[in-house]
């Protein structure tokens, strides 16, 4: 999509942009949930991300984009078996759309009917989950997704592996993807199980000051007038950010994680009463990714503080009626905790 709106040209919405960039740096964080009213640029931003992502090496003609530098596990059966060094090629990290109204066969994959009928072969036709391996899977209006598709997603998102047992097929293939969902909370609740799968969540609001609005109008006007010229104007910023993400991806493993960071993460989760370990792990991983993004060698409390609301907002002990105060609760505990640390 060469005519997509440039990611860096999006006015405001820094929380959302940061969360998405972090997810691009460390896919293991577990995805981003973007909730907000209409007209906040949710889907524009997410689609803009696709044009920004760096390239990765993949095994040539592997339907699951296996990593040629990796060994088992995490490879598909074919790539896992081959002993020779595979031919590789570079491709942009895929961003796959999971449209509403998708049928299960196209999501998880199914029998390739053409080959079955023409050649009499029992072959697997990979679905969207296969295409999204090592990339992003984007669900717009995620709160309207049909339940049986959600069920399919939940399992795969947790295990990183898609197991297909249907139509006489018995296939398993890697399906590790960053799940990105967006939706308008006024239209319905997200299933709690699905909500838990997201590593980060952001609340987007429409900007309500005149200068920002004018800037939006101006940017959009310029974009509509001449899309390629507009993209060209932003190309430098785009490639700077792309390189930053690329560098951060490479630096991620070497980021230092001091012990006090782990401790603070644990304290924070304890104070907020979040369930399970996932919150802590995501906190630390996100802080590291943010450090890598800022070219800092060590993940510090500042990084943790910056990312904590996004990590914890949707993990608070669930009181379905107390939605609005989640942010405030997180911020209150953070400020308490960090004041204690300072003393």
């Amino acid at each position: 999509m060469s005519t997509a709106y440039p990611f860096t040209a999006i006015v405001g919405q820094d929380d959302m942009k940061r969360a998405l960039t972090i997810a691009a740096v460390d896919p293991g964080i577990g995805g981003v949930l973007v909730l907000g009213e209409r007209g906040t640029g949710k889907s524009t931003t997410i689609r803009a991300l696709a044009a920004l992502l760096p390239k990765i090496d993949v095994v040539k003609s592997c339907p699951y984009q296996c990593d040629p530098h990796h060994a088992l596990p995490g490879l598909c059966d074919l790539c896992g078996k081959s002993s020779a060094a595979p031919a590789k090629t570079a491709m942009t990290i895929p961003v796959v759309d999971l449209p509403l109204g998708s049928t299960e066969d196209r999501v998880v994959g199914a029998l390739d009917i053409e080959r079955a009928l023409v050649n009499g072969e029992k072959a697997f036709q990979p679905g969207l989950l296969a295409q999204a391996n090592r990339g992003f899977l984007y669900v717009d209006e995620v709160n309207l997704l049909e339940d049986h598709i959600v069920d399919a997603l939940l399992d795969v998102a947790a295990s990183g592996e898609n197991v297909v047992e249907r139509e006489g097929l018995s296939i398993r293939h890697p399906a590790k993807f960053v799940l990105v969902g967006s939706g308008n909370p006024e239209e319905g609740e997200l299933r709690p199980q699905l909500q838990d799968r997201f590593g980060l969540s952001v609340d987007v609001r429409t900007p309500s000051d005149v200068p920002t609005r004018v800037e939006i109008i101006r940017a959009r006007e310029a974009f509509d007038k001449d899309r390629s010229a507009f993209r060209k104007r932003w190309a430098r910023k785009e490639s700077t950010l792309r390189r930053r993400i690329q560098r951060a991806r490479e630096a991620l493993d070497s980021i230092d994680t001091p012990a006090n960071l782990l401790e603070t993460a644990a304290k924070l989760c304890l104070a907020l009463g979040t369930d399970g370990l996932r919150g802590e792990l995501t906190l630390v991983r996100s802080a590291r990714a943010l450090a890598a993004l800022n070219s800092d060698p060590i993940a510090t409390l500042e990084h943790l503080k910056a990312i904590a609301p996004s990590v914890l907002r949707h993990r608070l002990r669930r009181d379905p009626l107390d939605e609005s105060s989640a942010d405030i609760r997180v911020e209150r505990v953070i400020s308490q905790l960090f004041n204690d640390c300072d003393d």
Partner: protein, 581 residues
């Protein structure tokens, strides 16, 4: 524009021209009109301006497979491999298309239209097809909506221009203003039209003043202002173009109207800003001057509005705010959906989705036999009617919990707080069961539907928190409104239960007079009527010391009675479960 106060029809004519000129940049038109000659004539005008021979129409009940495209059954069976078929949105690429009965579109259809409007393309992943289709459409959403039904907010937000033909009678149709040649000429110079920074700021400020949250309206207003200037043959946007954009884009979407009772300070007649020189983008620092500019423009636009329209807008704005998410979409959400639970042999002409895989599998073993039978070895595949398999869907039955809350003075203020607490507990339970909820409150003279059926608990909670207390008890009105909602819900196949929180002290009659006797009598009549509805009810007595009044009411309603003092969370939940069976 030369006329000082353009007639309603003139605005509509401008909109018809603009949708052809810049429809692809503003999404399209939200057309509010009853079916009839005026609407037909307006659509004729749109068509006469366009290069299309006729405008295609998307029916409200279009199946997803047809809208998006999917498998072409005939071709697939003939060729023995999946053949994709372009959906309606793909066929209408770069065209103007009408969505009929837009207020009744199912939520999924709304979503697909929104994606097409946003991206100009659709990704399709269904029935063995996995593809992208270009679908840059200009949509005219024909909204016949009445008081109760609204076009979905996600859709109206993406349609930049709003045309309201409802107040226009057949005699209100004026002379034509434009012809196709003018539109072509305007198209040629559209990109050269200048817009000054002042006008940009004015549009941004006005959209905020009018309480429009979404920036899309302002973006559309900019395009419309440019288009209007181009149509008028100008190379720069002037105030009349901004006024046109205000009338077509911003005012119809207004959630609040500025207080016009107070006479706006008469602004000094400012010299027109130099329009021909493009302004360098700079932060607007002229904040003192801005409001007057904005006032001037807003006043100019309002002065051009026909009389009576403002009031109409005011009442509508209130309503739109109330049900911003649109109620009809939510109610229709599950008509075409559900979990596929298997396949069965059936006739595809009677409806249902053919399951190609199962069909082919059923046909496979017979192929050698059939080939021999026909003596035709060339034909690859022969499918007979008995092979056809359809997918079976399990549709979940929607259920709605309707809260009817007595907020009158007799229900006592502190008890109201407790009642709110109880409702919140119940809401949490609805959340677990993924019920829809709705909220009716009654006090003083009337009962009011505070929250139309929704699945959003956040909104329910907000509506509840904002509920004031005090005044008389119009029980009869409340019960009648409950009956209306129940009837409407059951027409849509939704199972409803209502939970009435009251002390049972009715003292307002249906005609609004305060009279305990008449009030009680009317309430009992209303209760008897409600009792015959296929609905289960629960009466929670909120009286300080429960008396027989609420219990009698519950008996008349044939509902379950429970007194609030004993109604802790567990009791309440148990009772609700028992009632809802």
């Amino acid at each position: 524009m030369t006329t000082d106060t353009p007639s309603l029809w003139a605005d509509a004519e401008w909109a018809a021209a603009l949708v052809n000129l810049i429809g692809d940049r503003v999404g399209g038109v939200h057309l509010r009109a009853s079916p009839g000659p005026v609407r037909d004539y307006w659509l004729d005008r749109v068509e006469s301006f366009s290069e299309q021979s006729h405008l295609r129409k998307i029916p409200a009940n279009i199946p997803e497979a047809r809208l998006l495209g999917g498998i072409d059954l005939a071709a697939t069976l003939q060729q023995g491999k999946p053949i994709a078929e372009t959906g309606m949105l793909g066929e209408c690429h770069e065209r103007i298309v009408i969505a009929a009965m837009a207020e009744r579109l199912p939520r999924n259809t709304v979503h697909h239209l929104c994606v097409a409007l946003d991206d100009g393309q659709l990704s399709i992943a269904r029935d063995g097809i996995d593809t992208q289709t270009a679908a840059r459409i200009t949509l005219i959403a024909a909204d016949e909506g009445t008081e109760e039904e609204f076009i979905h907010g996600a859709l109206s937000d993406r349609l930049g221009i709003t045309v309201n033909l409802q107040p226009i009678g057949i005699h209100g149709v004026d002379d034509d203003i434009f012809d196709r040649g003018q539109i072509e000429r305007a198209r040629a110079c559209l990109d050269e039209v200048m817009l000054t920074e002042e006008h940009r700021i004015a549009i941004a400020t006005l959209s905020l003043t009018l309480g429009i949250d979404s920036p899309r309206a302002a973006l559309a207003a900019v395009q419309v202002a440019r288009g209007a200037a181009a149509l008028a043959g100008r190379r720069a946007v002037d105030d009349s173009d901004i006024a046109c954009a205000l009338r077509l884009c911003l005012i119809p979407k207004a959630a609040q109207l500025p207080d016009m009772a107070e006479p706006a300070p008469e602004p000094e007649p400012q010299p027109e800003p130099e329009v021909d020189q493009p302004e360098e983008p700079e932060p607007p620092q002229t904040t003192e001057q801005m409001p007057s500019d904005e006032d001037r423009l807003l006043e100019a636009a309002l002065a051009q509005l026909p009389e009576g329209l403002l009031q109409q807008l005011q009442t509508r704005a209130a309503k739109v705010r109330q049900s911003s998410a649109g109620s009809s979409g939510a109610q229709h959400r599950h008509q075409q959906r559900g979990r596929p639970t298997g396949v069965f042999r059936g006739d595809h002409r009677r409806g249902g989705r053919v399951n190609i895989l199962a069909t082919l599998r059923a046909a496979a073993p017979w192929q050698p036999l059939r080939r021999r039978e026909r003596g035709d070895a060339l034909r690859k595949l022969e499918i007979r009617r008995e092979d056809i398999h359809l997918t079976r869907y399990q549709q979940r039955r929607e259920s709605l919990t309707l809260f009817v809350v007595d907020a009158s003075g007799s229900a006592a203020m502190q008890r109201l707080a407790e009642a709110k607490g109880a409702v919140e507990l119940l809401l949490a339970d609805c959340y677990v069961r993924r019920d829809q909820v709705a909220l009716i409150a009654f006090r003083d003279e009337t009962a009011e539907l505070l929250l139309a059926p929704t699945r959003s608990l956040v909104r329910a909670k907000k509506a509840l928190a904002a509920l004031p207390g005090g005044g008389a008890t119009p029980m009869a009105a409340a019960l009648n409104l409950t009956r209306d909602i129940v009837e409407r819900a059951s027409k849509q196949g939704t199972t409803t239960q209502y939970i009435l929180l009251t002390d049972g002290a009715a003292n307002v009659a249906l005609d609004g007079t305060r009279n305990r006797e008449a009030g009680t009598r009317d309430a009992l009549t209303a209760a008897q009527r409600l009792a015959v509805q296929p609905v289960s009810g629960l009466v929670i007595d909120t009286a300080q010391r429960p008396q027989s009044r609420a219990r009698d009411l519950a008996d008349t309603l044939r509902g379950t009675y429970i007194a609030l003092p004993k109604a802790d969370a567990h009791t309440l939940n148990r009772t609700i479960r028992a009632v809802s069976g």
